[in-house]
């Protein structure tokens, strides 16, 4: 049987952990979007000095585990005099990681916009940059929202890895409370519920954005 007393008593502590998880998620998400957009545009660029570093970034991130990336940043960088707090190590690792996946998602969306759109814009005298900003990206947005939502949900869940570098977010809060209460089922269940609330909230938010991009479609 579930120990409801334990649940009601400790739930507020877990909510506190969830708030840290939310913070780290939102900051990583925003930075990851910026990184992803920048990397996508660089990969699509014909300039090799932009193209190849961006390709390398996406390749190295996607071909190594997030946990190892996190350890390199948190445990490895201090060797070179770069010591980041657990929070910012987590943000950096997660942003770089989700950024690489976002880059591929965004690049795919940009390429999926029909080439006639680019031609029409350029024929009107619009520059490449103006065409990208005003015509291509808004249309790509519509295509990339669903896969981007996927990346967001994965990001939120991946924040649990940050518990391994002593950041007391949702998962580590649960673990610590288990140490004193010996109630692993209740604690992890509450953590799971709170993760589900965060990821569902993100999905619902994105659906609102998607609704604004119907442009006359029913």
């Amino acid at each position: 049987m579930l120990d409801w007393q334990i649940i009601t008593h400790y739930f507020p502590f877990l909510v506190k952990g969830a708030i840290i998880t939310l913070e780290i998620s939102v900051i990583s998400l925003v930075l990851g979007l910026v990184a992803g957009l920048a990397a996508a545009l660089c990969i699509l660029s014909t300039n090799p000095l932009l193209h190849w570093p961006a390709r390398f970034y996406v390749w190295i991130i996607r071909s190594t585990p997030l946990l190892v990336q996190l350890f390199i940043i948190y445990f490895g960088l201090p060797q070179f005099g770069i010591g980041l707090s657990p929070f910012w190590s987590g943000v950096l690792a997660l942003a770089l990681n989700t950024g690489a996946y976002n880059a591929e998602t965004i690049r795919g969306g940009i390429l999926a916009v029909p080439k006639g759109q680019r031609e029409a814009s350029r024929s009107l005298g619009m520059s490449k940059a103006l065409t990208m900003r005003r015509i291509i990206l808004p249309q790509a947005l519509r295509l990339i929202i669903p896969p981007l939502g996927n990346n967001f949900v994965i990001l939120i869940k991946d924040t649990s890895l940050v518990s391994t570098i002593t950041l007391v977010e949702l998962t580590l809060t649960a673990q610590r409370l288990i140490g004193s209460t010996y109630k692993p089922f209740e604690m992890y269940l509450m953590a799971a519920v709170l993760y589900a609330i965060l990821t569902t909230g993100a999905s619902l938010l994105l659906r609102q954005v998607e609704r604004r991009t119907t442009w006359g479609h029913v």
């Binding site: 759109q117 029409a120 024929s123 009107l124 005298g125 490449k128 249309q139 442009w215 479609h217």
Partner: protein, 248 residues
């Protein structure tokens, strides 16, 4: 006004334009006809550099379009400016689906020419009225028929006040009953004295509206002349064959 001198274009080893020489006068309506793959569309797209010629010169309003003396960045600036004087209408309309009809028309005049919003809005509404779509200004492209979309595309190009309009098979993607409304708009544009280069398979339109018809085949101009001459008394064998094929 438009001058093509020894214009060449290759895609890889495939030479699509094999040295085209052509001049178009102000207010002239030039219609390009020919079998598919003859290079008509490529020729049109070379004029505003949507395709960059492999050789030769394109001159519009006395200005060298495909300048080879500029570094890439300077060329981009140059070509963006030159393109503002040339309107183009495409086979598949290419309206911006995320913008309303009015926004489609306002986009380039406000973003590229930085023209006064109020002034250009009044002008855009006038243009919409002219193509018979004033009441559709707040619709999105997806809510319009193909013919309506194409008329908006014409209005969008005209809003830049171009000195020449390029039409690339603009009725080819339309249902037959919608072709007429688009041709009508083009006809009235021609009557107003717009310089137009029209790639089309509408021989009736060519006969009625063109000042000159150019027949192309395999990347070369085979024959050109006034419509009557070309349609009723073609000199070249390839022209005769083509006309027999399309008019039967």
């Amino acid at each position: 006004m438009i001058r093509l001198h020894n214009l060449r274009k290759s895609f890889g080893n495939n030479e699509v334009l094999k040295g085209i020489n052509l001049e178009v006068d102000p207010s002239e309506v030039l219609v390009l006809i020919g079998p598919s793959g003859s290079g008509k569309s490529t020729l049109l797209r070379c004029i505003n550099n949507l395709e960059s010629p492999t050789g030769g010169e394109v001159t519009v309003d006395g200005e060298w379009v495909n300048r080879t003396d500029l570094k890439p960045r300077a060329f981009q600036k140059h070509i963006n400016r030159v393109r503002t004087h040339m309107g183009m209408v495409f086979q598949h309309f290419n309206l911006f689906p995320h913008k309303t009809v009015l926004e489609n028309i306002l986009e380039a005049p406000t973003q590229v020419l930085h023209r006064n919003q109020e002034e250009i809005t009044a002008e855009a509404l006038e243009l919409l009225d002219k193509v018979g779509l004033a009441e559709k200004k707040d619709s999105y492209p997806v809510q319009l028929s193909g013919g309506q979309q194409q008329r908006v595309a014409i209005a969008r190009a005209l809003a830049m006040r171009p000195s020449v309009m390029l039409f690339d098979e603009v009725t080819s993607a339309l249902d037959p009953e919608l072709v007429g409304e688009v041709l009508l708009v083009m006809e009235s544009l021609a009557a107003e004295g717009m310089t137009m280069i029209v790639v089309t398979h509408e021989m009736g339109f060519a006969e009625r509206v063109a000042n000159r018809v150019v027949f192309m085949s395999e990347g070369q101009i085979v024959e050109e002349g006034v419509p009557k001459e070309i349609f009723s008394n073609p000199r070249e064998e390839r022209t005769k064959q083509f006309l027999a094929d399309v008019l039967k």
